[in-house]
Amino acid sequence: MSHDKIYSEVLLDHNRHPRHSGELTNPDISMDGANPMCGDEITMYASVEDGTLVDVAFRSTACAICTASASMFCEMAKGKDFDHIHQHDQLMRKLMHGEKLEHDERRALADMNSLEGVSKLPVRVKCAMLVWETWELMKQKLKEINKV
């Protein structure tokens, strides 16, 4: 029952070398996200234009699963429109619920596939989802300030 496999090399690599880690110089928006119960904290920075996430970055004080998931999110989302991101959101939730995924869904998930094992650790699913929940809050805020 060792959980070592859940911490795959891809996941650990994203944790050690997070992509898009840091801040944007002039972001349109930034948003804090936290899992108060376990202490994970991230801040996301984004520039948007016409329903496209032109640039994105994040800072985290968080566990490997949270940091890796944020890194993968940025890699997937940068330069993409919100619909594209939303499709991945759906896939990510399927992955976390342990649902079966089709071949092309797998391909779309790319590195995120490496988070699959987290679905076997129910208490850790929220770590993987923190960046996604924060992205949701960001979209709401963007709507409020009429940026989308």
Binding site: M1, S2, H3, D4, I6, Y7, E9, L12, D13, N15, R16, M37, C38, G39, D40, E41, T61, A62, C63, A64, I65, L121, R124, C127
Partner: protein, 407 residues
């Protein structure tokens, strides 16, 4: 009783279907229960169940006798000669809230000060924040120094003359530090403040003598000392219990009730409104029997030597820092491993059937003091053995390797 095999008394640790024995190292959160405690609870329901104190039949007498004899055991266990100084509560959290409510109604005036410490569990912070709002009192905090200790002379010199209550822990659930409670109570007494001691992490670990300590109130939780959930005790000096009116009303706690006024019952009953956790109290009595049979001296030395061994072996792991003192401590050991978040450590240990806690341990102020977002905590108890430490260390080394291999 072979101390090396105490886990054989604990069904959850003994009767495991997993290939590997469960190594339970989250004892500061809650402990496992021996057969004798589980059976005492069942036997109560099978043989003696009836409401207490008001039943004019033999079954009710039997139930009342068992409940009250659990109170006597509890009194004896923390060394007060007076059973009536023991109020049964759900545990430390309820006890402190009960005291906070009573004191906010009957002692504290706007501008008064309640002194706490930076080391406190949320249970000894949040209740005071709530009543601070209610009655306009101020909170002050004793600072932590060095490996997690208070500076007694600093407490005295910083003492605010408006301080009416000094509430502090006996031992830390994060660092394992054992504080000099006799001296702390002495300061409170000299300064004329009510002293309240949170014994959640001390009562399970060594013999307590409330009379010698000179505290006004002392409280602990049964579930952290091989007892059932939902039961604990509040010790209060007789004089204080008698002086204060209860904060909560209901059955059992009154002598006479008219529509607009009531005459309260004697101590401790006036503080136990409603049907109590009878089975829980009896289970707590059985837990005390178990620990007393082992003797608290033995409990202390077993956990001490295990903690010493664990500290020694942890010191061999590269990039691992233990927080808190090396000696004069309980079995709770918090640590930090460079480059690996505590939650990842805990999940990976769980994969090896080793249960530890990761997070803030309901003690955020101490996390801020440590400047850590969280720590991993392994906390040892009487049924742990050296082999548990070895497996724990082996796993930590493997985890370090796993994270290190990523270049």
């Amino acid at each position: 009783m072979n101390p090396a095999e105490l886990y054989l008394d604990f069904p959850l640790l003994r009767d495991n279907d997993d290939e590997e024995r469960l190594i339970f190292l989250d004892n500061a959160a809650t402990t496992q229960k021996p057969d004798t405690v589980i059976n005492a609870v069942s036997a109560y329901y099978r043989e003696s169940n009836a409401n207490v104190h008001r039943s004019p039949y033999r079954l009710g007498e039997k139930s009342t006798d068992l409940y009250e004899s659990a109170r006597s055991k509890t009194a004896r266990f923390i060394k007060t000669a007076d059973d009536k100084e023991i109020v049964f509560t759900r545990g430390v959290t309820e006890s402190i809230n009960l005291l906070a409510t009573i004191l906010s109604d009957q002692l504290l005036k706007p501008g008064d000060v309640i002194l706490l410490t930076e080391a406190e569990h949320h249970s000894n912070i949040v209740p005071w924040q709530i009543i601070a709002k209610r009655c306009g009192v101020k909170l002050e905090f004793v600072k932590l120094h060095g490996d997690g200790r208070f500076d007694l002379s600093e407490i005295e010199s910083n003492w605010n003359p408006k301080t009416k209550v000094f509430s502090f822990q006996h031992a830390s659930n994060v660092l394992g530090t054992i504080h000099p409670v006799n001296e702390l109570c002495e300061i409170a007494r000299c300064k004329g403040a009510v002293s309240i001691v949170d014994g959640a992490q001390s009562v399970p670990h060594f013999g307590i003598d409330v009379s010698d300590m000179g505290c006004d109130f002392y409280t602990f939780s049964g579930h952290k000392m091989v007892g059932p959930t939902g039961i604990g005790a509040l010790y209060g000096r007789r004089e204080l219990l008698e002086r204060f009116d209860p904060a909560f009303g209901g059955g059992e706690m009154i002598k006479r009730v008219s529509l607009f006024e009531s005459e309260y019952n004697d101590v401790p009953h006036k503080f136990e409104a409603g049907t109590p956790n009878i089975a829980g109290a009896i289970g707590l009595g059985a837990a005390i029997d178990y620990l007393e049979k082992l003797t608290m001296k033995k409990v202390e030395s077993m956990v001490n030597s295990l903690a010493a061994y664990a500290l020694e072996r942890l010191s061999t792991i590269e990039g691992l820092a233990v927080h808190g003192p090396q000696t004069d401590r309980t079995g709770a050991i918090s640590f930090w491993m460079d480059g690996i978040h505590p939650h990842d450590i805990a999940s990976l240990l769980d994969g090896d059937n080793i249960a530890v806690r990761a997070g803030r341990h309901c003690a955020e102020p101490i996390m801020n003091w440590l400047k850590r977002p969280a720590t991993t905590r392994a906390s040892f108890y009487i049924y742990n053995i050296r082999e548990d430490v070895d497996r724990f260390i082996d796993s930590l080394n493997r985890i370090r390797g796993l994270f290190k291999n990523v270049s």
